[in-house]
Symmetry: C2
Amino acid sequence: MAKVLFKPQNKEIEGEIGENLLELARKTDIFIDAPCNGSQSCGKCKVKLLEGKCDSEKSIHISDEELDQGYILACATKITEDIVIGVPSKLSSSMHGMKIEGSDKKVDKKLFDRGRQLLEDNDLSYSSNIVKQYIELDKPSLDDNISDVDRLERHVRQCAGIPGIDFRVDVLRKITKVLREEDFKVTLTYLKKKNKITILNIEAGNTEEKLYGLAIDIGTTSVVVCLVNLITNEVIEKASSGNSQIKYGADVINRIVFAVRKNNIELMRKAIVDDTLNPLMESIYEKTGVEKDNVVRVVLSGNTTMSTLFLGIYPDYLRLEPYIPPFLKSPNLMGENVGLNVNGSALVYLAPNVASYVGGDITAGVLSAGIWASEENTLFIDLGTNGEIVFGNKDFMMCCACSAGPAFEGGGIGCGMRASAGAIEKVDIDKDTLQPKLTIIGDCDPAGICGSGIIDLICQMLLKGVIDRRGKIQRESNNRRIRFNEHEIGEYVLAFKEDYEELENDLVVDEIDIDSFIRAKGAIYSGASVLIESLGMDFEVIDKVYIAGGIGNNLDIENSILIGLLPDVDRSKFQYIGNSSLVGSYLTLISSDARHKLEEIGSEMTYVELSVYPTYMDEFVSACFLPHTNIDQFPTVKDLLD
Amino acid sequence: MAKVLFKPQNKEIEGEIGENLLELARKTDIFIDAPCNGSQSCGKCKVKLLEGKCDSEKSIHISDEELDQGYILACATKITEDIVIGVPSKLSSSMHGMKIEGSDKKVDKKLFDRGRQLLEDNDLSYSSNIVKQYIELDKPSLDDNISDVDRLERHVRQCAGIPGIDFRVDVLRKITKVLREEDFKVTLTYLKKKNKITILNIEAGNTEEKLYGLAIDIGTTSVVVCLVNLITNEVIEKASSGNSQIKYGADVINRIVFAVRKNNIELMRKAIVDDTLNPLMESIYEKTGVEKDNVVRVVLSGNTTMSTLFLGIYPDYLRLEPYIPPFLKSPNLMGENVGLNVNGSALVYLAPNVASYVGGDITAGVLSAGIWASEENTLFIDLGTNGEIVFGNKDFMMCCACSAGPAFEGGGIGCGMRASAGAIEKVDIDKDTLQPKLTIIGDCDPAGICGSGIIDLICQMLLKGVIDRRGKIQRESNNRRIRFNEHEIGEYVLAFKEDYEELENDLVVDEIDIDSFIRAKGAIYSGASVLIESLGMDFEVIDKVYIAGGIGNNLDIENSILIGLLPDVDRSKFQYIGNSSLVGSYLTLISSDARHKLEEIGSEMTYVELSVYPTYMDEFVSACFLPHTNIDQFPTVKDLLD
């Protein structure tokens, strides 16, 4: 055995000789970013050996200079003796204070209001099958000594004509005391079915106004929970955090691989339920004083992998041909079945999946976008950790998934990071000096670059001649920001370490990064292109483009078109709709009509499997260019570049 | 803090100065019998202080001689320093190897066969709504890539025409792997409802023959679990043990008092579920190789307090006027709701209660006795820890409860004990020497006397002139077995300590013991008498007397009549029907018709509250005589005594 002390957290753990350093960090709950889940391919789990020796493999992600300074990849390191490890502050803090889209209350309100307006415009009602009712029972006596349950049943039968009542065990456990607390005056919370009601809760006195639900978006990267008053349909509190599963891999493929290895499924389920959702809910309850027994309905939307792991289901067949998801429609679930910290028999509903790579986040997003209600041909693009695209209108809907990877959330790029403090979110390059003007999140030195920053950067580099349309850095420059390494790989320096106190290394973007990003944007564009083409149409038929997902808020549409991420259509057609998955959850929570609509969307949407679609590969290759091999598809960009 | 070491178990626990010794023993899981639950009234928690000092109250249950030897009552003792406590072996072992009626396989089989015959004679079918079915699904491909759940649904819909399927989360968790284990050939276990089935289990290959249920009797004192093959309806294994709640009190009143104190309800629930039932089930699974997921139905019968505590419901109102039980009919329960170690969605059913003191053990007992099917006027007496009495035939049924206490199970009497090794179960007294001839359970020295032994003893003492009809010991004798203490209380010596190696004190029965027993038998007799009288009838109308309960097997009918426990009717009318509660559970388990019949019994049986019945007190007082104040009610005894 040997000890590992992590700094600055000062957490120590003992591990066996030969044990993997990344795995040990995970056991201690030290967060080390590892998007590739320890396959040594991303280079993000770089840590510094401060004391002692270890057995670390060489990596292309560690420069000679870094090697001298003691940098190692945690995933490529086995422990051999007691060591002290320095965890870069950028990494350790990237889960905290993560900037999550739409946390601005005003933006939120607008989006939720827009969703409700959509329901109203389309005559979808807010009716619910869960009701609270205050009742006053006859008091027991020797002459009227029926059981407590029978007394309640008698009252409900006589007053409401309902013949059958089911009682949850939890309710039975408190019924005898609660009945006597305020002299047999109680409020029931119950679920109405045809000839039966199920009592979900019983409270002393009149508490008819306390009825709540949760709308939840489980993103691969971040998770948002909204507490909703089910009487007024208002969102009364919201909390968000990173998805705790992130330490086991950045994208769904890595999560699946990790989950099925050593049967880690339960670990993954707990990471989302116990370590992410329940703490968020707890914080909301504490802030609002709402009791969990009054939270009786939950709607969650997440991609197919997220919903599979949320239920603790073996996920491997999602990623293996022929890509079979375990389920599409939500099973009938109750709070206690899924371990959520709500009323044990709260109705828990998952937005329906369409296929292995188009999940409930997309059906919920489409619900809130309102494509189903409109005659306009609408393109819906979700730029999350995965890219999903929907095209259609009220008569038809097609969808596909693009393996874009986490590029738009700062993944797959050397100095990429999530949109948290220190992230460069906007870049403008001076055409003469090639000096970049950086906009950084938070009042601090730059630590990396996030999705919207990368789009700006690539666009600027193209416009200012730093790179050509293939993404290659121009060889002729002798600007000090343009450098080439021993393998002739070019790089552009965003920030020199000597210019910033807290920067340990130069912040650079190299040709490998650029290539990686171009492939991601090419996947999105070609996905949309093929989807529309499969209907015998082209981008000209588009009336509307909705951009959803975490990146959206800061996304520069003009720049995105310029690099060929988004199609070159009239800018007025674009609309950012925020976390549409969350809004869809919310609408499903407050309206059973909306839920039926959501199920309709899920079952009627046609999924196109791009990987087997004949022309997709060609389209993709053509799109891996700035903006595209066929620049005629981007007339305004053509004009600009000319 | 101070340490207490319990011998011979060698268990040590630390307690606070001033902490109660009995409570400490309970925390260490040392079993010290305490029928009165620590109220210092029964004297059963006698232990020996081996080392150290403690603060112990004086008790009438500790003689001067015992005091000198270091005996103390655990419930009357506070700890003040480190001590060593000797736990009498009789007590520590009385929970183990407890002789439970009917563990004889032949007797069992006869009783279960009799029950099945009853169903068949009355055209109650064995149909069930839980089915196993082997199916072969189409294998998935890129052209047929619907989800696993949809594939199953499609098959079931197409083959069985069932539109709706519900999946338990547990089933979803294994569905993806199980489907692929034997090439999409699986066996479903499902519950049929009207237009819907709920999948309870999925297994690879054909396992249609593996379908099991449990019939359980939760007695206040002992618990029996039977594993039943639901295909053949055979009982394939049986296990029994003491009810672990017993350390918190011998009878239901003491259990209730303990449960509501300090909110011990969850402790009581765990005592029966986690410490009693689940270990019994585990032992059965281990012995038979049956998997718990194949155990899909459970029927339990127990008195109202037992079923209340089994569900963890606050029980106090059962014992407080107007004696309101929390429920009568079984709520809809599943395995996972109640914590039983069976399939999570196994249907769990509790035999219906009639009132606070006539519970599911009696309705189940009446079901198996077949009173509902017969024209004969039948008296049904359950001699368990409580005494319950039913009188009726197929047209009507009346019932009542007698607070007989645990007398028939060895409680309430100085040297009383349960029917385990060392218990005197038969007594014959020589009329000249007054020397008793003892029949002892197990090949060992006598340690105490059990219920059937006490009946024999009282009867023999009466016949041989040791006591008179009031239960008073004759003052004129100078036999050395008859003694009087300083308070002039007489006692009869069953066994002198010098005659037996392992006996630490003389085994005696004194006038207080006899009085206590006479009150118990008087309660039963007067209860039966009043119940029949309330219909304007008398014992002459009785066609049949069924004796049920743990005592029954060894009960001497003749002696029981002689002391006035049972009515003096033709001996051929008596029949012992064993653990009728267990047999009733079994019948309910294998036949839904029987379950309906049981519910009918529960709802139609009329409960007579003896405590408010006008003539009951007089009847009771008259019955507290051997055999009765009015000996004309016992003509054969009158002849004998004359």
